[in-house]
């Protein structure tokens, strides 16, 4: 398989607008406040419209209508504002059906957004974690699947043979049959879209391809959120459970078994609100 040919297809994706990467870097700048960020948001009509539509949707159940981005930002606060901006710019690519992974239209989007919310929840319990970064990297981590889908579809018989007969992980099988895996490709896409090196690294290693990333708490959080969502069966396809679980992730985050079950419980008890939010994009 010609990897260059696959990479050249990145242009077929709807690119993440520069404004989103700008906002991400503003969130990491202590000099920038909520007012500065909301001013930048107003320059993008589509993002502004999406945010206003969502805050006025059933997900928020407000009694009065929010009519300006200023009102919306005051209501949401920085964390939820960043979440909405990235959901707004990522949804159209991730909503596509991916037959190669047996994902109907909307399934990958649901998995991506649900695991991002879970990542955010887990991130709140770990000291020193950048919640906006973790949420966004989790949301975008499977962008590589959208592009690799066609090649997975063509090589599915061989991939499944390796996974179900020879104990390969789906990621290893992608690499063996196609020459590149979806996590690596996701990193290349993020780089092309001018995301920070940190974001590129988180996306590229969300299945812990590089063992050194086990020492990185934010990578471990993304990996754990992805694993738990696959266990819960949220937007999962052929590859759902066909990865390896690495218990060192739990040690790295100082988690016990009971805390994992608590995360599953916590997510599920809030699923109606989260689903409303996911479906409003």
């Amino acid at each position: 398989m010609n990897i260059e040919k696959i990479i050249s297809k990145i242009d077929q994706l709807k690119p993440i607008p520069q404004i989103a990467t700008k906002i991400m870097s503003m969130t990491q700048d202590p000099e920038c406040g909520l007012a500065d960020i909301s001013k930048v948001v107003t320059y993008d009509v589509t993002i502004t419209a999406n945010i206003l539509r969502t805050v006025n949707s059933a997900a928020y159940g407000l009694s009065r209508k929010i009519e300006s981005i200023h009102q919306a930002v005051t209501l949401l606060g920085l964390k939820e504002l960043v979440q909405m901006i990235f959901m707004s710019v990522a949804s159209s690519n991730l909503k596509r059906a991916c037959q190669g992974y047996d994902l109907e239209e909307g399934a990958l989007w649901k998995h991506s957004a649900a695991s991002a919310f879970l990542s955010g929840k887990i991130g709140e319990t770990v000291i020193g974690v950048d919640g906006n970064l973790v949420f966004t990297a989790t949301l975008l981590k499977d962008m590589g699947k959208v592009l690799l889908n066609q090649y997975v579809h063509e090589g599915l018989k061989e991939i499944k043979n390796l996974v179900f007969q020879k104990d390969y992980t789906f990621l290893d099988a992608e690499r063996e049959i196609i020459g590149i895996d979806h996590a690596h490709l996701g990193g290349i896409i993020a780089k092309k879209w001018n995301f920070s090196d940190r974001m590129v690294n988180l996306i590229q290693n969300h299945h812990l391809s590089d063992e050194k990333s086990l020492c990185d708490k934010e990578t471990c959080i993304i990996y754990l959120a992805d694993t738990i969502c696959s266990m819960m069966g949220i937007g999962t396809g052929t590859d759902g459970l066909t990865y390896r679980f690495t218990e060192d992730v739990l040690n790295q985050l100082n988690y016990s078994q009971g805390q994992i079950e608590a995360f599953i419980f916590q997510y599920t008890s809030e699923k109606e609100k989260i689903n409303h939010l996911i479906n409003s994009f």
């Binding site: 599915l156 499944k160 819960m232 069966g233 999962t236 459970l241 218990e247 009971g258 994992i260």
Partner: protein
């Protein structure tokens, strides 16, 4: 035929002749389907975690069907209240999948399967179809017209 998707931590019992109850894309969750051919009624439960007591989280008791130890007895009682007769019940257990490398304590899928089998056996119910464990995400479909059950492994062939 009308497909009704059952969400995780929920259950439904019905007898509409043109309806199929679906438990989609099960990972470590377990779906239990019951069917009574005597009244052509069926039900589906999808629980996510084995025991409520294992989750030390306030408010857990508001989510009966999220847990096997509380959800299964409540589901069986709801089936009885609906008019299903225990001796006629056809039982199917599906799901409880796991990711390679999950040990006993983290293996929620395995423990979900265990508690489902234990509690169904404790009620002296037989199991007609069972597809538990492994690395498959599965989908279970129950046709209410005749009780036909289909189990689909993600990306695999239909085999039941």
């Amino acid at each position: 035929m009308k497909e009704t998707i059952i969400d995780v931590a929920e259950m439904q019992i019905n007898s509409a002749a043109d309806e199929v109850l679906v438990a989609p894309s099960l990972g470590s969750c377990v779906a239990i389907s019951l069917y009574d051919p005597g009244i052509c009624a069926g039900g589906l439960l999808i629980f996510m975690l084995p025991k409520m007591a294992d989750v030390s989280f306030p408010g857990a008791d508001r989510f009966t069907f999220m847990f096997g130890d509380t959800g299964i007895p409540a589901f069986l009682k709801a089936a009885k209240d609906y008019g299903m007769i225990k001796e006629r019940l056809q039982v199917t257990l599906v799901g409880g999948g796991q990711i390679v490398g999950q040990n006993e304590s983290f293996n929620i899928g395995h423990r979900n399967g265990q508690i489902a089998k234990e509690l169904i056996a404790a009620e002296d119910l037989g199991i007609q179809n069972e597809s538990l464990g492994g690395i498959y995400n599965r989908t279970l479909q129950l046709e209410l017209a005749g009780g036909k059950v289909q189990i689909l492994n993600a990306g695999q062939e239909v085999y039941a």
